[in-house]
C-alpha cells in the first residue's frame, strides 16, 4: 500500500510539474535579417520609376522650352547639352536639334556599388525618327540627391555593345584611374581627344580603332575644304577636342573591360586662307546661331560633345573603340 501510494504521489507530481512547465510563455522573436547579397542597388522597378520621372521632366521641358526645369532631373554634361539643344532649337525655330530622349529602354545597366555617387546606364530602343538608339547615363551624386540624367550619346550605327552583368546583379563602377584596363578611363578620354584632333597623326592613334566620328570629320572637313577650294580660297579645316573637367563615368563590362562615358568640348575651325575670301556658317544650325555677325575668312564652331568608348581589359588585344557620341554645336563665331 505504501509503495502504491508513493508511486501515485510521484505520478501526480510529475503530471502537475509537466503542466506547469508547459505553461511557460512564448519567446520573443529575434530579427533574422537576410544576409546581404550582391545585387544591384537599384531595382529594375525603381529604375523604371526613375526613368519615368526623368523623361517626364525632359518631355515637359521639350514642350514648354523652359530650360530652367531641367535641373531637377538633368545634371552635368546632359544638362548643358540639353540646354544648348533647346537654345539651338529656339534659334532654328524647329525641334530637329533636340535628341529624342524617349526613355523606352531595351537594356538597363544598374549599379552594384553601395557608395555614392551611383551611376546607372540604359540603352533605348530605336527612336521613332529611326536614328540610332541612345545610351544614357544617370547619376545619383549623393544619397540625398535624386537620380539625374548625366549624359547621353547616340550609338554608332551597327555598333555591337559589350556584354554587361545581369541587370539584377548590377555592374560595378570603374574608377577613372582603374588600372585593370588597357588604359585608365581617364587616359582613354584624353588620348581619344588627341586622336580626334589630329587623327592618324596622334601618337595614340594605334590604340584606337577607326570609327565613324573620325570618318565624319574627314568627310566633313574635306567637304568644307573642297567647297572653299572651288573658289580658290585655299580652304582649311581643323578640329580640336578637349576633355572637360566633368568626371568620367565608367562601368564594368562582363569581360572585365569598361564602358567609358565622358564629356568633351570641341572647336572646329574653317578657314579660307586666300586673301579676300569670306566664308559664312556652313550648316543650318550654325547659320541660326550666327546671328548678324560679320562674315570673315574664318568660321569657328564650338561644340559640346559626349563620347562613349569601350575600353577592353588589360590583357585584351582589342583596341579601344567608340560606341557612340553626341556632337552639339552651341556657338559660332567669325574668329
Amino acid at each position: 500500500m505504501r509503495r502504491t501510494t508513493t508511486r501515485s504521489m510521484a505520478v501526480v507530481a510529475t503530471l502537475l510539474a509537466t503542466g506547469l512547465l508547459a505553461g511557460c510563455a512564448e519567446e520573443l522573436p529575434v530579427p533574422k535579417p537576410e544576409a546581404p547579397v550582391a545585387a544591384a542597388v537599384v531595382s529594375q522597378s525603381q529604375e523604371r520609376k526613375i526613368l519615368d520621372k526623368v523623361s517626364g521632366v525632359v518631355e515637359g521641358v521639350t514642350k514648354s522650352s523652359d530650360a530652367d526645369s531641367l535641373a531637377a532631373r538633368l545634371s552635368g554634361p546632359a544638362l548643358a547639352i540639353r540646354e544648348t539643344q533647346l537654345k539651338v532649337a529656339a534659334a532654328r525655330k524647329d525641334k530637329e536639334p533636340l535628341t529624342d530622349l524617349a526613355m523606352e529602354m531595351q537594356q538597363v545597366i544598374l549599379p552594384s556599388d553601395q557608395e555614392w555617387p551611383r551611376t546607372s546606364f540604359a540603352i533605348t530602343v530605336q527612336p521613332k525618327d529611326l536614328t540610332t538608339p541612345v545610351l544614357m547615363a544617370f547619376n545619383q551624386s549623393s544619397a540625398r540627391e535624386q537620380y539625374k540624367m548625366w549624359g547621353w550619346v547616340r550609338l554608332l550605327p551597327g555598333v555591337t555593345m559589350p556584354q554587361f552583368a545581369e541587370a539584377d546583379l548590377g555592374s560595378a563602377a570603374v574608377p577613372a584611374n582603374d588600372e585593370s584596363l588597357k588604359m585608365t578611363p581617364q587616359s582613354a578620354v584624353e588620348q581619344y581627344a588627341s586622336v580626334l584632333t589630329v587623327d592618324k597623326d596622334s601618337k595614340y592613334a594605334g590604340n584606337f580603332a577607326d570609327d565613324d566620328l573620325r570618318q565624319f570629320f574627314r568627310d566633313y572637313g574635306k567637304l568644307q575644304v573642297d567647297a572653299i577650294n572651288k573658289e580658290d580660297c585655299k580652304g582649311a579645316f581643323e578640329v580640336a577636342y578637349e576633355p572637360t573637367k566633368d568626371p568620367v563615368k565608367s562601368v564594368r563590362t562582363a569581360d572585365g573591360g569598361a564602358l567609358v562615358m565622358a564629356a568633351m568640348i570641341s572647336k572646329e575651325t574653317i578657314t579660307a586662307k586666300e586673301e579676300g575670301c569670306e566664308i559664312g556658317p556652313p550648316t543650318k544650325t550654325t547659320q541660326a546661331l550666327w546671328g548678324d555677325a560679320d562674315v570673315t575668312n574664318v568660321v569657328e564652331v564650338n561644340y559640346k560633345d559626349m563620347v562613349a568608348m569601350y575600353v577592353p581589359p588589360k590583357d585584351s588585344e582589342d583596341q579601344v573603340s567608340l560606341v557612340g557620341y553626341e556632337h552639339v554645336p552651341w556657338s559660332v563665331s567669325n574668329g
Binding site: V12, L15, G19, L28, P29, P33, E34
Partner: protein, 477 residues
C-alpha cells in the same frame, strides 16, 4: 484513505487541466496582433529599424509614426544601404528588436563612417531642422503626414528597413508603433483537455477503486455492476439464436413483425436489457449480421432476402429455414443445402460462423447459376423491395412483401447509387479478402444490395464475383 485523497486530487487536477486548456483558447488567448512601440531616445530626428525588424513577427506589418502636434513626419522604406546612406552622418535611433511584446528596443544608431568633421557638425545641426526623406528615388514605399503617418508593408526578400523622420524646424524623432498580425495558436487546448480528461478519468477510477475496496466488505455495488454487464451479453447471444430459430420456424412475415421492433429498440437501449443483445450479436455474425444490426435484421435482411427468392426455389428446401439465421445463404436460393454448416457455426463460435456461411453462399450461388431463370424473377422483385428500403439496408425484407410495385419506381432511381456502392463494396471485399480480415462483413453487405438494384443478369454476375471473394475468405480461414 490516501488513495481517495489522491483520487480527488487527480480529479481536481484533471478538471483544472481541462479548464486551463479551454481557458488558453478563450480568455487567456493571445491577441491577434502584436503592437510594439519604440520611443526614441531623443537624439536626432530619425528612427531606423534594423534589417529583419519589420518582419519580426509576421510578414505583414503596419507602421505608425507619431510626432507632436503640428509637425510633419515621413515614413520611408528602403534597403538598409539606401536608408543608412540617406541618413548619413546625422544622429538617429536604431530599432533593434523587441524588448517585450509591447516595446521595441531602441539604441542610438551608429553613424555611417564619414569624415570626422561632418560627424562633429551633425549634432550641432540636429536640433535645427529635420531633413525630409520624402520623394527620394531610393524608397520602395513612403508616406508623409502631419502629426501621424502610417504605412503597410509586406515583407519581401531583401534587407528592407524603415526610416521614420520628423521633418522641419524643431523636429523630433517620431514615436514608432509596429503592428503585426499574429497567428494565434492554442497549443494547450487539446493537450489540456485530453490530458486533463485522462487525469480526471484516472482519478475517477482511483476513487472507484478505493470505494470498491471499502465496498468489498459490504458487498459493494461495483460487483453488481460487473455481473450486470456480463449477464446481458450472455442472454443476448441466446436471444439471437432464439430469434433466428424462431424466424425460421415462423412464417417470414410474422417474425419480422415480432422481431424487428424488438431489435429496433435494441440498438439504442442495448445497455439496458435483452435488446442490447443485437449489437454484440451483429459483430459475431460478421457477414450477414451487418445489415441485420440495423434492426429488422433477424427477419428482414437475410431471412427477408432469401424469402423473396425462396418462394420459388426456396420453399422446397428445408435447409433454408435453418439458414435463415444466417440470412445470407438463404437469399441465394435453393443452393442453401449447405446451410447446416452455418447454423452450428454461429452458435458456438462467431468467427467460424461467417466462414461457414460464406461457403454456403458460394454453393448457393453456383447452384443459382444454373437455376438462373427461376431465381431471376424473384431477384427482380427483390430489387424493387430494396429500392423502397434503400434508406435502410436492413429493412428491405419487410418492404418486399408489402409493396413490390411501388418499390419499382424507387429502384430505378436508386439504381445508379447502388451500382456505385456495389463497386465500392466489391473493392472492399476484395481488399479484405486479400488481408483476410473481417471477411464476413463485406460479404454480407454487398449481398443485399445487388439483389435490390439489379436485374437478374447483373445480380448474377455480381454474386459470382462475390462468391469468389467469399470463397477466398472462407478458404483462408
Amino acid at each position: 484513505m490516501v488513495q481517495r485523497f489522491l483520487a480527488i486530487l487527480l480529479i481536481l487536477a484533471g478538471l483544472g487541466g481541462i479548464g486551463f486548456g479551454i481557458a488558453t483558447a478563450t480568455v487567456l488567448r493571445d491577441s491577434d496582433t502584436v503592437v510594439a512601440t519604440a520611443t526614441p531616445s531623443g537624439d536626432g530626428t530619425m528612427v531606423v529599424t534594423d534589417p529583419g525588424v519589420l518582419g519580426l513577427v509576421d510578414d505583414q506589418v503596419t507602421v505608425r509614426a507619431t510626432v507632436p502636434e503640428g509637425q510633419k513626419v515621413t515614413l520611408a522604406l528602403g534597403s538598409d544601404v539606401d536608408v543608412l546612406g540617406w541618413v548619413g552622418s546625422d544622429p538617429y535611433d536604431s530599432v533593434t528588436g523587441l524588448s517585450s511584446w509591447e516595446t521595441l528596443s531602441v539604441a542610438p544608431g551608429t553613424p555611417a563612417a564619414t569624415d570626422d568633421e561632418e560627424a562633429e557638425e551633425a549634432p550641432a545641426e540636429k536640433p535645427t531642422t529635420g531633413p525630409d526623406p520624402a520623394g527620394s528615388d531610393m524608397w520602395i514605399s513612403e508616406t508623409s503626414g502631419e502629426g501621424v503617418a502610417s504605412l503597410r508593408w509586406t515583407e519581401q526578400p531583401g534587407r528592407v528597413v524603415l526610416l521614420a523622420a520628423g521633418v522641419g524646424k524643431g523636429a523630433e524623432a517620431p514615436t514608432l508603433e509596429l503592428t503585426w498580425p499574429r497567428p494565434v495558436t492554442t497549443p494547450y487546448l487539446w493537450p489540456g483537455v485530453l490530458g486533463g480528461g485522462f487525469v480526471l478519468i484516472l482519478g475517477v477510477f482511483m476513487l472507484l477503486g478505493s470505494r470498491r475496496k471499502k465496498g468489498k466488505g459490504k458487498g459493494g455495488s461495483t460487483s453488481a455492476v460487473r455481473t450486470r454487464q456480463s449477464s446481458p451479453e450472455l442472454p443476448r447471444r441466446d436471444a439471437v439464436f432464439g430469434v433466428d430459430g424462431g424466424e425460421a420456424d415462423q412464417h417470414p412475415e410474422e417474425p419480422r413483425g415480432g422481431f424487428p421492433p424488438a431489435p429496433g429498440g435494441a440498438p439504442g437501449d442495448a445497455p439496458d436489457g435483452g435488446t442490447a443483445v443485437f449489437p454484440p450479436a451483429a459483430p459475431e455474425r460478421p457477414g450477414r449480421a451487418r445489415p441485420e444490426p440495423g434492426t429488422p435484421r433477424p427477419g428482414t435482411q437475410r431471412p427477408g432476402a432469401p424469402r423473396p427468392g425462396r418462394p420459388d426455389p426456396g420453399t422446397p428446401e428445408p435447409t433454408e429455414d435453418r439458414t435463415q439465421a444466417w440470412g445470407a445463404p438463404a437469399p441465394f436460393g435453393g443452393a442453401a443445402p449447405i446451410v447446416p454448416a452455418p447454423e452450428p457455426a454461429p452458435a458456438p463460435a462467431p468467427v467460424a460462423a461467417p466462414a461457414a456461411s460464406i461457403r454456403g453462399m458460394r454453393r448457393s450461388r453456383r447452384s443459382q447459376g444454373p437455376g438462373a431463370p427461376a431465381p431471376a424473377a424473384p431477384v427482380q422483385s427483390a430489387p424493387a423491395q430494396f429500392g423502397g428500403a434503400v434508406p435502410e439496408h436492413t429493412q428491405p425484407a419487410p418492404a418486399r412483401p408489402a409493396a413490390p410495385a411501388p418499390a419499382e419506381a424507387d429502384t430505378a432511381a436508386s439504381g445508379k447509387p447502388m451500382t456505385r456502392r456495389e463497386m465500392r463494396m466489391r473493392e472492399q471485399a476484395q481488399r479484405r479478402a486479400a488481408t483476410g480480415a473481417m471477411p464476413a462483413v463485406p460479404a454480407a453487405e454487398p449481398q443485399p444490395e445487388p439483389e435490390q438494384e439489379t436485374p437478374s443478369s447483373r445480380a448474377a454476375a455480381w454474386r459470382q464475383t462475390w462468391g469468389v471473394t467469399g470463397n477466398d475468405d472462407g478458404g483462408n480461414r
